[in-house]
Chain length 359, copies 3
């Protein structure tokens, strides 16, 4: 089955059945990697990393190399003439002429969507600021699929900074498309999940519950998805000192968990999982990175399948406005057309960054 | 036909017929790339970039990868131990031992010529300061050959900073070896072309005309070669504000041009070509980068054809003098022998940077 | 013959016969490289360089590429998210999941040993601070084997900073395992070799002599191993000015040497070998880097032979102490268990950095 999308800017660019196909292919590659050792022979992946993210970049690179393809790219904005004086449009147009597929990471929200407007080759979003990071979610879903044997009827604890954590939001969005999942949301009052994510769960066949401490939540979990809480997110240093331990996973808390529970983490971790837990068989965050590599291999194969180099048609502005989000790619790349979808009333939603503004 | 030169420091290192052969081969590769997918299997290209130039580096890298070869290199002078404490001679000797061909970029003029004195493998000059950049000119010529169908009897407009633009000088030198080309030189009075370039045209079967504004020049052009004018090149800010628009290519000026005209630009551009012009079919500056990749593929094949690793014979100084050009590679690499050719009278011309000094 | 060690942290990880086998294989590859052009097809080498060392990194990279393998990695600590916020343990665990073999360079002593405790794939130490650099010694030994035709009964001069030079210490340790070698130690009084290296020579079938000037020592040498003396190592600027020329190899001193003498240097050099000496046939320091590439090829082949991805068993602390060496990797990576061997009396020797402390 060929996927219909040319680009993966968000994981929702894949239909439910396309996602299942990518998961299935990742599994097949993992079992017989040698069958795929020449799948991308002669193809070149560009990893354009406008901010460093060594592990994500290495995951894409090894994925392409293990398919027999080759790699070019940069990871050093200060050092790159491309990253400096040139528009994203021009860089993408030129690199798209050289290569066959581009993975882009950029601190500005919507950068991958902007790149896709000009690229003759598939664009994979490898993270655009705090906005989207679909291959991390793909990684998470493949890990769940393999470690739990199913993607539905799971009780999934999500612990840490649920307010700002894009991987958490994206994982909930995707897992809400499966039936009967229950999300246990574990965070400080300041770092609870945004209302719009709750709305997504409510509208789905899934449910959620909020529990303020990890020890209280852990006994019922099938899966525990840990994330960082940054010190500066707490309301004060006293608050940090008082609360911080409540969200750290250690051997003591692991004693309260089911034998079949699995621990995931998008990495890198700081201190939210004690090193002792690494030796617990339920810890799967390192296996998770390997699943991620296979997921990226599957995605690259699917996007290159029958791919033809072709510039996308010109996109015209939908409204005579600019997005007001200072982190939106349109705020730094002025030539980008203002494109919005109408969200009812006077509300517009920016196509690039999903930022909202009034007409 | 094997090329005679071991290195390409300037495009003039290729004879006229060798250049035509490289152009022909680039065209053949472009039409049937799969025939060349293993041409350099087992060969390694080093890209030694002592100053970043991401696009040029990527063009060399993809060229080598598309020939089945592999790549190593650096692009980060501050970060590279090679670039720091070690002489160019030692770095080239060592890297020449590891690899099969070297593309070097260096801010000092004559650096590639110096590298060639010590390298056991072919050296391609990927830019030595403001001096030479032969693969850009090869790119330009291949683009003209393909887009215009011929390299003679063309009316070629060159617009921008004609005083300091090495790509413009190099293109005129090469195109002057073909018959009947007419160069229309479009620049401010401060940024006109050097007399020695005019002398080259006069001595050839070509001609030139100087026209101070782009709108006046454009109707007669077969080709418009745009380049940047840097703000600081104008005599004053007022002068910049007054003149600057005269050299910007926009939709209005495009209306004055022939339907068959082609626009080239060595990229990156700043604002001298309006983004609107990108959607005009006559804009060929992005295709140009792809032609450049094929040109570099052809050049790599030709230079590796029958290449044998061998250190060049030692070169002794011709005169007991040093070059006085502070940007000459001999000013930073003291062990380099002083080599000059005599230009009549007491005048010497430095072999590395083409700088002049009196005996 | 498969080597028994999974990792090469020090050259002593190879038995005497394994070392001879690696030397033999390097020689075979050098003679028929095409026989090995696919030896590592499908395998990925990660070069994790926490401090830049471009030449060493390029040597590993070309070694892997010439075996048909591929490469990923970083060389830029400031720029790498891996190098920044993440523990060495986590980085190694993840990169070991992606790749097949890791070459690591790190400014902290014992970093490679620490990496090996967590890596599912072979670790090659590409330099851990001033501690060990086994592939440099392998390079030196292969050069001697090829240039001298034997590894025993050689009179080997070692000139420069013998106090701090890890390559010198390591070379003496390895060459002391062969019979009848005589080490001529040439240095200032401040930079003489440590007593423990002398003890190793005394305990072997080899001998040593200390001679304070290069001119006095050179006539009897079969091999001269030159190293840098850093200006700041002299007791004063006057001392530097007075002594420094005594340790510089130039044409005049070469006249005193045997015709069959060979000059080695680990590179990069500063000014301790005059450029004129490069043209003397006895200079072998550039050939040495090529031997090093073949040595690394042989080592990679041997370590990957029958290699299975497997996490090493957990290592528990041997003592309730920490190493006191501030440059020891355990001082920055706090989770590392304290592991010591007892050296008699109350003395402990740190397993990572070989630092000593009392119980």
């Amino acid at each position: 089955m060929k996927v219909k999308t040319k680009n993966v800017l968000d994981l929702t660019d894949l239909s439910h059945s396309e996602l299942m196909e990518v998961i299935r292919l990742a599994d097949e590659i993992r079992k017989k990697p040698s069958d795929y050792a020449d799948s991308c022979r002669g193809k070149i992946l560009a990893t354009l990393f406008y901010e460093p993210s060594t592990r994500t970049q290495m995951s894409f690179q090894t994925a392409m190399l293990r398919l027999g393809g080759t790699i070019i790219g940069f990871d050093n904005p200060q050092n790159s003439s491309v990253a400096k004086g040139e528009s994203l449009k021009d860089t993408i147009t030129v690199v798209g002429g050289y290569t066959d597929i581009i993975a882009i990471r950029n601190p500005m929200e919507g950068a991958a969507a902007a790149a896709a407007m000009y690229s003759p080759v598939p664009i994979v979003n490898a993270g655009d600021g705090g906005h989207l990071h679909p291959t991390q979610t793909l990684t998470d879903v493949i890990t769940l699929h393999n470690e739990m044997g199913r993607l539905d009827n799971l009780t999934i604890g999500l612990c840490g900074d649920l307010k700002n954590g894009r991987t958490v939001h994206s994982l909930i969005k995707t897992m809400s498309t499966f039936k009967g999942n229950k999300f246990i949301l574990i965070s400080t009052p300041e770092l609870t999940i945004p209302q719009y994510i709750k709305d997504i769960i409510i509208a789905s066949d899934c449910s959620y519950e909020e529990i303020p401490g990890l020890a209280d939540a852990i006994p019922q979990l099938d899966v525990l998805y840990m994330t960082r809480i940054q010190r500066e997110r707490f309301s004060s240093e006293e608050e940090y000192q008082r609360q911080h331990g409540v969200f750290i996973l250690d051997k003591a808390k692991m004693k309260l968990a089911k034998k079949s529970m699995r621990i995931l983490h998008p990495l890198p971790r700081v201190d939210e999982i004690d090193v002792e837990v690494d030796y617990d068989d339920r810890a799967k965050y390192f296996e998770q990175t390997v699943y991620g590599m296979y997921g990226r291999m599957a995605l690259i194969i699917k996007l290159l399948e029958g791919s033809v180099k072709e510039f996308p048609p010109r996109v015209m502005p939908t409204h005579p406005f600019r997005c007001k989000n200072p982190k939106c790619i349109t705020s730094s790349e002025k030539y980008l057309p203002g494109i919005f979808r109408e969200a009812g009333g006077d509300m517009l939603i920016c196509k690039y960054c999903d930022g909202r503004r009034l007409i």
